[in-house]
């Protein structure tokens, strides 16, 4: 039996490759509106009109076959059959944007010169027509001798014609290799499309252009962005409360069921305090994670995120980075790991390194539970609006941190090359609720999987550290102080005392070096284990915690200091491992840990000490 035919999907970034890939293969994948989202090679299978299977490789977006970044190099190498992990494709589907045909054909014509059969897909014909541009695809097909299919991949318009082309025997294009430089190629492309592209003469303002007048405006643009972020955080605090109470109640019920059915003992305590307390303490934040990704998905899906990238480019230039760094940094708001991996789309090795070093400062979703818990403790009677404002402040602080450190690294690392940032602003589109829903489902699944594996394991180990060795005392606080974790917390107390932390917080800080959200589960374990009065919740126990001098342990100063610490501290072992791999050096990974944790300490110290002048 013959192996299925393999098609490679090739095109400039943001031509709708990923959308077409999804339509062809049915595989779920992230669809973004900004360039550079396709970093990894992705493959899938589809079926043609005869029911025969074919394979599709979604290659990273590229502007030409003269690679300038690592992911463009992947595209070039696969098409030349130079990658041992990927067989050379049997044919290529070249995706071009109908509105920018000339520029997109630059890559397409280079592909045609590789002696591979080609199908040309002219995508986004609808937005081109809005601008008064129509492409005579039949004329192009006659000239090139290959199928040229007009499409609107996001609406699946043109799929039938593409299926017909995929079912036929693939053919090579009637295209003579261009001798000479870029100008010569554009001249040849001009000849190819002559009479095949009609413009109606007048420059039309599309709805997208009108929206852009406000949304990327130097003043209004930023106001809109701040408004959107403020709305997001307000929703986080106001709307998420109900499902959070429900989850809290469910875990409380689970705990009481175990207590009713099991005799008192260590294993029961491990299950109720360690497992249910630790995992429940993190899972309770699921609604907020889902709301965060709903907003991110909405901004990404409508095309607004690309505008944010565009506005950020102006700021990025100030610290010597270009807007391309924004895509990895933005991904880091979900998780620094895919963010750092997305730096592969950047052309300059130096810019890649700087972006990698500062990426962990962006407020990843693992920080959200820590922030929410501390803000609630800090403002026990605060309104959702006040809490949202503090949260907004933390995000702004992280952005300032990213810029400040990027600036420092830009000044200290040798400058070797200057690169140009080209960003295409896609047309605004109605959000695809299905895509947003899928993204929320994916992120929720990842969060729960993490809670059920890493957090569960660490919670069990932490419970043991807070329980053993045991004392004869019935008092929870004495038992905790006697435990291994308690001793460790007391040992580091002199170092963290100037930051306003006691030894119990010290346990949380050390435990969360593996993953930030472990701070929350540690506090749950500590205060569930200690609490004798079952009516009290973890939050009320923490709020009631007193220092030796009778002052509340979690006062405003301490909470602020902890929040600042968590904005900067490098508390994620997985990120250290990714930095080590992406930079191919322990030196940068260790530098990242040292500079971020060191700065977090100094910043938290300053917050607590300076706060002493204003707050009790």
């Amino acid at each position: 039996m013959n192996s299925p035919r393999t098609f490679a999907l090739v095109g400039n970034p943001n031509t709708g490759k990923t959308t077409l890939f999804n339509a062809l293969t049915g595989l779920r994948q992230k669809v973004a509106n900004y360039p550079g989202v396709t970093v990894e090679k992705k493959t899938g299978t589809g079926r043609n009109r005869h029911g025969e299977a074919f394979a599709v490789i979604d290659l990273p977006g590229a502007y030409s076959l003269e690679p300038k970044s690592p992911d463009e190099e992947v595209t070039r190498a696969v098409l030349h059959g130079e990658r041992p992990d990927t067989p050379r494709p049997d044919a290529v589907i070249c995706l071009v944007d109908a509105g920018n045909l000339e520029r997109h054909l630059y890559l397409a014509t280079q592909v045609m010169e590789l002696d591979l059969p080609v199908i040309v897909v002219v995508n986004k014909t609808d937005t081109a027509e809005e601008r008064g541009v129509t492409v005579a695809t039949k004329k192009l097909a006659e000239r090139l001798g290959v199928p040229v299919v007009p499409m609107q991949a996001n609406e699946r318009v043109g799929m039938e014609a593409l299926q017909v082309a995929l079912s036929a025997e693939p053919v090579k294009a009637n295209w003579k290799p261009v001798e000479g430089d870029t100008a010569a190629r554009y001249k040849a492309i001009g000849k190819l499309i002559e009479g095949a592209v009609a413009r109606d003469g007048e420059e039309r303002l599309t709805p997208s252009d009108r929206w852009d007048g406000v949304l990327v405006h130097p003043v209004f643009g930023w106001l809109v962005l701040l408004g959107i972020l403020g709305g997001l955080f307000f929703t986080l605090f106001s709307l998420a409360g109900y499902p959070m109470d429900l989850i809290d109640g469910t875990f409380g019920w689970l705990s009481s069921q175990v207590e009713a059915r099991m005799a008192d003992g260590d294993l029961r305590a491990l299950i109720t305090e360690g497992i249910i307390g630790g995992v429940g303490g993190v899972v309770i934040f699921l609604p907020q994670i889902l709301i965060l990704f709903f907003f991110i998905g909405l901004m990404e899906n409508t095309g607004y995120l690309a505008r944010v990238s565009f506005m950020m480019d102006r700021l990025m230039a100030g610290v010597g980075l270009n807007g391309k760094a924004f895509v990895p940094l933005l991904s880091s708001y979900a998780c620094a790991i895919p963010g750092i991996m997305a730096t592969r789309t950047m052309e300059s090795a130096r810019d890649r390194l700087i972006t990698t070093l500062v990426a962990p400062i962006t407020s990843c979703s693992a920080r959200l539970p820590v922030y929410v818990m501390l803000i609630a403790l800090m403002l026990p009677v605060g309104t959702a609006g006040q809490k949202a404002l503090v949260m907004l402040g933390l995000y702004v602080l992280s952005i300032v941190g990213v810029y400040a450190f990027a600036y420092v690294f830009n000044r200290t690392l040798d400058r070797k090359e200057q690169t140009l940032f080209v960003l295409e602003l896609p047309a605004y589109q109605r959000p695809s609720w299905r895509e947003i829903g899928l993204q929320m489902y994916d992120r929720g699944k990842i969060f729960l999987r993490r809670a059920g594996t890493v957090i569960l394991g660490l919670s069990i180990v932490l419970w043991a550290l807070t329980t053993y060795p045991k004392t004869d005392s019935e008092d929870g606080s004495e038992q905790l102080a006697h435990s291994a974790a308690g001793r460790m917390g007391k040992a580091i107390e002199p170092v963290i005392e100037p930051l306003g932390y006691d030894w119990k917080m010290g346990i949380g800080l050390v435990a969360s070096f593996a993953a930030r959200e472990v701070f929350v589960s540690t506090m749950s374990i500590i205060y569930t284990g200690e609490e004798q009065d079952e009516e009290k919740t973890i939050r009320t126990s923490m709020a009631a915690e007193k220092r030796a001098d009778g002052q509340p342990a979690y006062n405003v100063r301490t909470c602020l200091s902890l929040l600042v610490f968590y904005v900067f501290a490098m508390q994620c072992l997985s990120t250290v491992a990714v930095t080590r791999r992406e930079t191919n050096s322990w030196k940068w990974a260790i530098l990242q840990v040292v500079y971020l944790t060191g700065f977090a300490y100094v910043a938290a110290l300053a917050t607590y000490q300076i706060g002493g002048f204003f707050l009790s």
């Binding site: 260590d266 998780c335 180990v461």
Partner: protein, 43 residues
């Protein structure tokens, strides 16, 4: 106080610790790509 629980709890802890160490120290396909963050999808 249930006696069997006083050895069962440490046993669960030791097994968990073993699993955690095994998960982190075993030679993985792609050592630093943390699947929890969904970046290591390979077909």
């Amino acid at each position: 106080m249930s006696d069997w629980q006083s050895w069962a709890a440490p046993a669960v802890v030791i097994i968990t610790l073993g699993i955690l160490l095994w998960r982190n120290l075993r030679p993985s396909k792609e050592a630093s790509c943390d699947e929890e963050c969904n970046c290591g999808k390979k077909e």
